[in-house]
Amino acid sequence: MNLLLDGLLVLALLWSAWRALASPDLARAVVLFIVFGLLMALAWARLNAPDIALAEAAIGAGLTGALLLDALGRLQPGTGAPAPESPAQPPANRAGRRWTGSVALVAGLLAAALAYALFQLPAPTVRLPEQVAANMAASGVDHPVTAVLLNFRGYDTLLEVAVLLIALIGLLTLGPAAGRPAAPGPANPLLKALARLLVPLMILSAGYLLWAGAHRPGGAFQAGALLAAAAVLLHLAQLLPAWASPGRLLRLGLAGGFLIFLGVAAALLAEGALLTYPPAQAGGLILLIEAGLTVSLGLILAGLFLLFAGAEERP
């Protein structure tokens, strides 16, 4: 039964990926991309990786999908269904087709080589999960994924947060898009009511995810993604205006989580090395870092959507 389910999942993944790439209609391609993201989240869940499943659903499918839909809205005049003469259809010339063909050939060969190589993988020599399990008591948290992300490999996470911050700064550099912002239409009253109802619940859930991260799937990234989704929902319901250039307070909010993380990392140098948590204080310090990151990551992810969103119209 499980094998059948997994087989169907694999087929659906391949099909949605292929259709998303091959569809000449961009709107359909975006929807298929979101479907692909959700199926991928299911696949992660089947692989017993609920943390990745949560992140994939929230960021891979949710936020990226919303960004793609938003970009689509700017590319095409009017809203709703794409116009048939829209630039969505790529010119079907021979060079383009040959290019697609060669890319497909290379990708296919690579996939075949990968599949072949994966069936002859040896058993890993180094058994990291055992080392993680052996050191859990000293990590300050009970959930192995959180222990790896914030303690054992916390330095990677510090730099990853810098990556997210720099993505937003890059967006600030590009400035507002040259597209024409449409006049704001009347907000959908139903959406408004829904947002008023849902957003407090979403913020509450974000708080829960942050807290739960210490002992079960959850944590700052998922909580931040939820906060960002709440902000996007508020914006769609026209309860939250788009951002222009961020002011001092907003900049503090965007960089604050990173600065707390950086400060803790530097202060812990006194313990012997970067990010060396004393086991007794590890839990509290990790919670402090994660709380800061939740707010900042929420703002950064929301900023990718809200920054320079202008007075655009949403259906």
Partner: protein, 477 residues
């Protein structure tokens, strides 16, 4: 041991701190902060070099766990040389940038700070996944800097750069995943003997994917197509940072992997990067001779000069001379190219347009800048006593010793071509200015920064012995 007195983590923390504080201060602010931070970083890099000379390679176990559970930082002679180069190029460029962006630097300082933090973290990393994170930070900061030029053309160049950079990172990450799947660790030190003992097909694929991604990031011919628009279209301080340093980071990593964990797999393949390098030298120089725009000329010259770095790969039969030639070329080109882009930026500001044939008359107006351009050119051509001469000399010597005379021919031809495109600029500059030509005044500080970098690239040739002694620390024969 007290971690507060270890230069390794501070080389990463310091730029991260001033970059994020500059972001807090707001657009255009943070230049002074950056100067202070960079001065501190240069001192840290010198301190690290001293430590290496006294006691050999050093490492730092982040989190106190130690690899493979935790992440280690590691510095040997090669890392120290690259770190010194990075801070030594960045500090004068920061002086330059402060004068250059008189009308507002936008997000230059935060982006530059994160870029330098990523470079330093990359040179200190000893973990394949940690290296991926530093590559991501480096790539995104570099793309943001390219977009700083504003307008449609730099934005297009930045997006193209972004796509190449992300595809390359993706290939690298896929390789890391395959390696983790094969051995269960991504720390380089334990991986090296494991790969030497047994390398299944997945590891060969991983090595290919990771090296291919890095080659695309280092803009080696024929993956150079993104470089001239990105480096040629960005503001001059950005072009200088990117051309002098960022492409070298990918090269450094290729060198590390090639000689380190992947050595058992790559031994017979050295001719491949060398072939591409030869192509880069010829094609890049040819394009530099043809382009009508000054900054494009300098950018194409980067494509050509990067080619030399890859000529060393078939010469690793004698590891140390080849490594010395490659590293010295990276250092010499780093200083010279920073100087050349800085000088080109001044000439652009003064003449008001980016054209080689608009330079007539600058010899009389901006002699110091032109002198800087010429000195940098001396290094690129490989004339004595410059560091470029020493690099090419070592390369030719190593090639002759191993009987690879085609490499010698390529190096000599490349030097002649470099002379041709440098003199193309100098010849124009010495022509009389047309009556209608107007020159805008430029701050002297800009000229001195360019001159300082150019002089360093030439004079470094006299300090080659010390540099080679530092480089030799921790290199297995």
């Amino acid at each position: 041991m007290n971690g507060l007195l270890d230069p390794l983590p501070w080389l990463i923390l310091l730029p991260l701190a001033w970059a994020s504080l500059a972001f807090l201060l707001g657009p255009g602010r943070g230049g002074r902060l950056a100067l202070a931070g960079l001065a501190g970083q240069l001192a840290l890099a010198l301190w690290l070099a001293r430590r290496l000379i006294e006691g050999g390679p050093v490492s730092h176990a982040v989190g106190g766990w130690g690899a493979p559970l935790g992440i280690d930082l590691y510095a040997d002679g090669l890392s120290a040389v690259m770190l010194l180069l990075t801070q030594a190029v960045a500090l004068p460029l920061a002086f330059y940038a402060r004068a250059y962006f008189a009308q507002g630097a936008g997000q230059f300082w935060p982006l530059a700070g994160f870029l330098l933090a990523a470079m330093n973290a990359l040179f200190l990393a000893a973990d394949l996944f940690n290296l991926y994170v530093t590559l991501e930070l480096l790539g995104l900061a570099a793309v943001g800097l390219v977009a700083l030029g504003g307008g449609a053309e730099p934005s297009r160049a930045a997006l193209r750069y972004l796509v190449v950079s992300l595809a390359a990172s993706g290939a690298y990450l896929l390789g890391v995943a395959l390696i983790y799947g094969s051995y269960g660790t991504v720390a380089i030190a334990p991986l090296t003997p494991l790969i030497a003992a047994q390398a299944p097909l997945a590891v060969g694929l991983a090595a290919g994917l990771m090296l291919l991604g890095l080659v695309a990031k280092s803009a080696l011919f024929p993956f150079h197509f993104w470089l001239p628009p990105a480096h040629g279209g960005a503001p001059a301080p950005v072009s200088a940072l990117l051309s002098a340093l960022v492409v070298k980071a990918a090269f450094y990593l290729i060198l590390r992997l090639w000689l380190g964990p992947f050595a058992p797999l790559t031994a017979d393949w050295g001719w491949l990067p060398a072939l591409a390098g030869a192509g880069a030298i010829l094609w890049g120089s040819w394009q530099a001779l043809r382009t009508p725009r000054l900054k494009q000329l300098v950018a194409w010259s980067t494509v050509a000069q990067l080619g030399y770095l890859f000529l060393i790969f078939p010469l690793f039969g004698l590891k140390e001379p080849a490594l010395q030639a490659g590293t010295l070329q990276a250092v010499a080109h780093g200083l010279a190219k920073a100087a050349m882009f800085a000088a080109a930026g001044i000439l652009l500001k003064a003449t008001g347009r980016d054209a080689v044939d608009g330079l007539a008359g600058v010899a009389g107006r901006l002699p110091l800048t032109l002198f800087a351009f010429g000195l940098a050119g001396v290094t690129l051509m490989g004339l004595p006593p410059s560091a470029g001469f020493l690099a090419k000399w070592l390369l030719i010597d190593a090639a002759l010793e191993q009987g690879l005379w085609p490499l010698v021919a390529i190096v000599l031809a490349g030097g002649l071509l470099a002379a041709a495109y440098v003199f193309r600029v100098l010849r124009q500059a010495f022509l009389l200015a047309p009556e209608a030509q107007q020159f805008h005044p430029v701050p002297r500080r800009l000229e001195w920064a360019a001159f300082g970098l150019a002089a360093a690239s030439v004079l470094l040739g006299l300090r080659g012995v010390e540099l080679m002694a530092l480089l030799g620390i921790g290199v297995a024969p």
